[in-house]
């Protein structure tokens, strides 16, 4: 029954027009970035790299597919949450708004199962969005710009990662990025359980992300105490895989914080969804 319900949720997401907004938006944005880089990319890059160019040994183009993918990932990780919340924030509340929740919840399947079906489908959608972004950035990027070593500007200066050394970094980087996006999906699904309209959870998700990001960037002592615990602080954890040596402790810490957030939000969502009176 649980898998039948999950299958249903896949069908619904695949049939909903809004699910394709994310795919279209990523195609468009990445397309524009790729195009702009093709036109003026070297200028943009040399602005950052010029001071170091003599000091480093470097193989291949500086402006290559790997760098483009890295830049795109860095830019989009802030914006993709909106595209995800657009779908995941609607999973419960959208059924309320449409009225279908009345029928759905009179079927002989527990509310918890329904919720987890939706959750799995929402996570799968998140994965599709991320994979599409990865495909556009890495595959299309390499096709347009070729491959080469990756130059990364970290807090302690510029480092060069050799192209042979990049595959696993991107794979793990994308995995951790996936986890942070799943955290967003969980947040919006949880908010979705509290709402009867589909705009509310989407807007609240974005509001929370913006608020946390602002708090996370303010250098005020009071706020610095809570900054390590904000999930937004750890949304950039994927970037740690592009450091040398890897900051294992930081990565583990980030994974832990994200996992705790996900678990906590799921508990709230299950609790709320099970006690909810269906009045719509």
């Amino acid at each position: 029954m649980f898998w039948k319900s999950t299958y249903n949720e896949f069908i619904k997401i695949a049939a909903k027009p809004r699910s394709y907004i994310g795919i279209a938006a990523i195609t468009l944005i990445v397309g524009i970035i790729l195009f702009a880089m093709k036109m003026d990319g070297l200028e943009f890059i040399s602005f950052v790299t010029a001071p170091f160019e003599q000091a480093l040994s470097f193989e291949g183009n500086i402006l290559n597919g790997n760098l483009i993918a890295f830049i795109i990932l860095q830019m989009l990780i802030i914006h993709v949450p909106l595209l995800i919340a657009l779908v995941t924030g609607d999973l419960v509340s959208g059924e309320g708004a449409m009225g279908t929740i009345r029928l759905l919840l009179t079927k002989p399947i527990s509310r918890t199962s329904i919720l987890f079906s939706k959750y799995i489908a929402g996570c799968a959608y998140t994965l599709v969005i991320l994979l599409w972004m990865g495909f556009m950035a890495l595959v299309v990027g390499k096709w347009m710009f070729g491959t080469g070593d990756l130059m990364v500007l970290n807090s302690d200066g510029l480092i060069v990662l050799q192209q042979q050394d990049l595959g696993w970094r991107f794979a793990l980087g994308f995995s951790v990025a996936f986890l942070s996006l799943v955290m967003i999906a969980t947040l919006s699904l949880t908010l979705s359980c509290f709402s009867e309209n589909s705009i509310g959870p989407i807007v609240s998700t974005m509001a929370i992300i913006i608020l946390f990001t602002i708090i996370g960037n303010l250098d005020v002592p009071v706020l610095q105490i809570i900054q390590p615990y904000l999930f937004t602080t750890h949304m950039m954890a994927w970037r740690s895989f592009f450091e040398d040596p890897l900051p294992y402790d930081d990565i583990l810490h980030s994974l832990l914080i994200l996992a705790i957030h996900i678990a906590g939000l799921l508990v709230i969502a299950v609790y709320k969804f099970n006690r909810k009176d269906i009045l719509s």
Binding site: M98, R102, L103, T106, K107, P108, I109
Partner: protein, 303 residues
């Protein structure tokens, strides 16, 4: 002893301070077409939502198929098909896909041919591939009926299934319910605020008002009570009253308003009263007889 399919005992539901259901009790037996009557806001939908586990009661007990709703929710729900208020479906899916989605969760294996069969049965053949977004209310109502029947449930719960339908649609639903009862031996719980609609198809009923059970029982016993409320309009009300007193019917007089006389008398007495008035030179403009419960119910409805 007949088998009880639904037992609602002293159901109470409060929304904060607001008391939507105060004390509702009734029993539905296997094979009943059970009328659930009450004016707008009486608490019918709230009760039905509670029966279907959509909302949690503040207090009271619901047992169905001999089991407690709280502990055996899925066992019970598997045996029910329902429409709760509006028949809402996924707008972006076709009629066929909508049916499949809900059939998949019904706990019964529903084949493709069964889906097509039921679509034809409710008269939606040819529209099964169309998205629900373009369906009229009546078509959605038909799909709603299809959805309640697709997994062949024992009990069918319909919350005001005829609202918004044209006269033919209302007749279709009525015939369908009778067919379900007579041919398929289903039990049907049917809410409505129209007594005459219930009278045509139900064998038992309950009337609720302001969240409380008023009466319940067999429809024929409740409605065919001997006593009628007869409203007679005459030109000389005082003379009419005198005549009734002379015929020792003064106890039957309920009320006198304008040129109207309200009497509680049995059906056989009506021609007698009419003849007496005419023989004594009174002009009788109209005689209108209503059954007591009907009159009572109409008063409820009209506030």
């Amino acid at each position: 002893m007949e088998e009880k399919i639904i037992e609602v005992n002293h159901l109470v539901k409060h929304y904060g301070k607001f008391k939507a259901v105060e004390d509702v009790s009734f029993d539905v037996y296997r094979g009943d077409v059970y009328g659930f009557l009450g004016p707008n806001g009486a608490g019918k939908s709230t009760t039905i939502r509670t029966i279907l586990s959509l909302i949690k009661p503040t207090s009271g007990q619901i047992r169905m198929f001999g089991k407690d709703l709280q502990t055996d929710r899925n066992y019970i729900l598997q045996r029910i098909g329902c429409i709760v208020e509006k028949p809402d479906f996924y707008k972006y899916l076709s009629a066929e896909k909508n049916l499949e989605i809900f059939a998949r969760l019904s706990g019964v294996n529903v084949t493709k041919s069964k889906v097509h069969e039921i679509i034809e049965f409710v008269g939606l053949k040819g529209r099964e591939k169309d998205k629900l977004g373009g369906f009229s209310h009546g078509m959605k109502q038909r799909l709603g009926i299809a959805q309640t029947l697709i997994h062949d449930p024992e009990l069918i719960i319909l919350d005001e299934p005829t609202t918004g339908l044209d006269p033919q649609g209302i007749i279709d639903i009525r015939n369908l319910i009778l067919q379900l009862k007579n041919e398929h031996k289903k039990t049907v719980l049917l809410s409505s605020h129209i007594l005459s609609e219930i009278e045509l198809i139900a064998n038992r009923m309950v009337i609720i008002n302001k969240g409380r059970t008023i009466v319940q029982g067999s429809v024929s016993e409740l409605l065919n009570a001997q006593e009628l409320i007869v409203s007679i309009s005459v030109d000389n009300i005082e003379k009419a009253r005198q005549l009734l007193i002379n015929a020792s019917l003064e106890k039957a007089i309920d009320k006198i308003e304008n040129n109207n006389l309200l009497l509680h008398i049995s059906q056989e007495k009506i021609p007698f009263v009419n003849k007496m008035f005419c023989d004594n030179g009174l002009n009788v403009y109209s005689i209108e007889a209503k059954r007591k419960l009907e009159d009572y119910f109409l008063k409820l409805i009209n506030g």
